[in-house]
Each structure stands twice: as C-alpha cells, then as structure tokens.
Symmetry: C2
Subunit: 130 residues, 2 copies
Amino acid sequence: MSTNTADSYSISELAQEFGITTRTIRFYEDKGLLTPQRRGQTRVYTPEDRVRLKLILRGKRLGFSLDESREIIDMYDPAHGNVEQLNRLLDRIDAKRQQLRQQQRDIEKMLAQLDDATARTEAALKEHSN
Amino acid sequence: MSTNTADSYSISELAQEFGITTRTIRFYEDKGLLTPQRRGQTRVYTPEDRVRLKLILRGKRLGFSLDESREIIDMYDPAHGNVEQLNRLLDRIDAKRQQLRQQQRDIEKMLAQLDDATARTEAALKEHSN
DNA sequence: GTTGACGTTTACGTTAACGTAAACTTTAAT
DNA sequence: ATTAAAGTTTACGTTAACGTAAACGTCAAC
C-alpha cells in the first residue's frame, strides 16, 4: 500500500477510488490504455496514469468504447509529426465535437421527456387521492 | 413497400430512414422493445412504433443499453397502478435525470478538452510553417 | 513459520447487441 | 410462368468488456 505520497498509487487504491475492480484496470492495460511502471513485478501508477483512467471512465459514462476513449485521450497529445497528420487530427477532433453536440441535444430531449413523465406520474398520483 | 400513407411503415423503410438493418429492428422486437402488427406474416409499423424506435436509437447514442432504453420509454406511460409503484417510478425518473446531468457535465469537460486539443494541434501546425 | 492481505499471470466463461447465412414464402413485375 | 425484391424464421458466429477462478509469489504481522 505504501504511504500515499500522492505521486504514486497502487492498483487497489485506484480501483477503490473509482469504484472498479483491479481486473478492469489490468484489462485497460492489456488494451494499451494504461502503461504503469513496475516496482519489481508490482504495478505502480503515476498521477498521469490516474488522469488517463479518469478520462477512460468519463468516456465510459458517455457510452464510448475503449477504442474511442483511447482516440480521444491521444488527441490531447499532438506528438504526431507531419502536417497532413495534424490536419487529419483536427478533423477527427471536430468530428468528436459534433458527436458530443449531438449527445447534448439528445440529453436535452430526454430531460424534457423525463419532465413530462414526472408530470404525468404526479397527475396519476393525484388521481389516487380522490 | 406500399404507398406511404404516413401512418404505417415497412421494416425496410424504417431501416433505411434510421440507417440500421432490418435484423436490428427484429432484434429489438425480440427484446420486447417493439411490437408491430402483422399484415399476414409481414410486420407493419405504426407511427408510434417509429417513435419508440427513435427513442431507442437516441438512448443508444447516449450509451444506454436496450434495457435502460426500455425503462425510459416505459416511464412515459404511468399505467402502473398503485401509489407505491408510482412513487418508485418518480424515484427512477429522478435517478435517470441525475445520470443525464452527470453526462452533461462529462460532455462539458470533454468539449473543453477538445478545445484544448485543437489549440495545441494548431500550435503544432504553426511550428511547421517555420 | 504460518497466516492473511495484496500482488501477479493465465485462461476459460459470460452478456449484450447485433452480423451472417441458410432455407423458405409472398408479392410485384416482366 | 418466372424472376426479382422483400419478407419471414431459425440458428450459429462475433466482438467488447469485463467476471471468475486457479495457481502462484511476497511480505509484514502475530
């Protein structure tokens, strides 16, 4: 467990903090989403690893696949060389933006729908008090 | 195909309109999300069926499972009898609202991240013009 | 020195959401 | 009549994202 110096985490610390299993974290590593260091055989996670994990889980809440989350995370680091690649990156970023905007609209509509459902249900409840 | 009187649709009409396969539509029926009528052996979809399909796909874009989408769709119809059930329904509706609000926050953060990514990428591009 | 908590690898199992294909029927058009 | 297009059922296949279990190592504590 080691004293949490706040610049390294064990796998179970992260698992507990985010409410997931260690299996899940190792799975993400298998898929290349995390690449922790090793102290001997044991995985050691940096704050950057933790941030990546956070981003993965955020993507998950939005219904993204691990591949999509990986793509988004990689977008933040334009270490990709030539001009053409950078332009394609800009396009992919824009595409994701469009997708998120669509999701925003979908959420708005669904929230309105829920308001409607609440109203109807409360109406049904008032019926019962008669 | 039949003349589209706008009050009934064939399975392939719906498939084409929403960019999915007929297999998918039949699968949703298998899962109890759609219950079209039959003209002989052939499925005939009403505008209400079409709306349900639309809601399913909206849920899908938000990362919902079919079970979740079914739940949300069913929320709109409080045909459920007693007071206790109605109160539980109100709770479930509220829970969904919370979830959608969380998604809104996630989207905001991710959009900010994308803006950041765009800025960085454009900066990297300007580097190339030197 | 053994127990228990935590870590590791390897591997098979499971569920959701369809894809794909076969084998057949019905309807529309040539 | 014979295609061609669209429909049907049945059933096996596939992928993603883990769950579950076995079998083992390590190390601090009693």
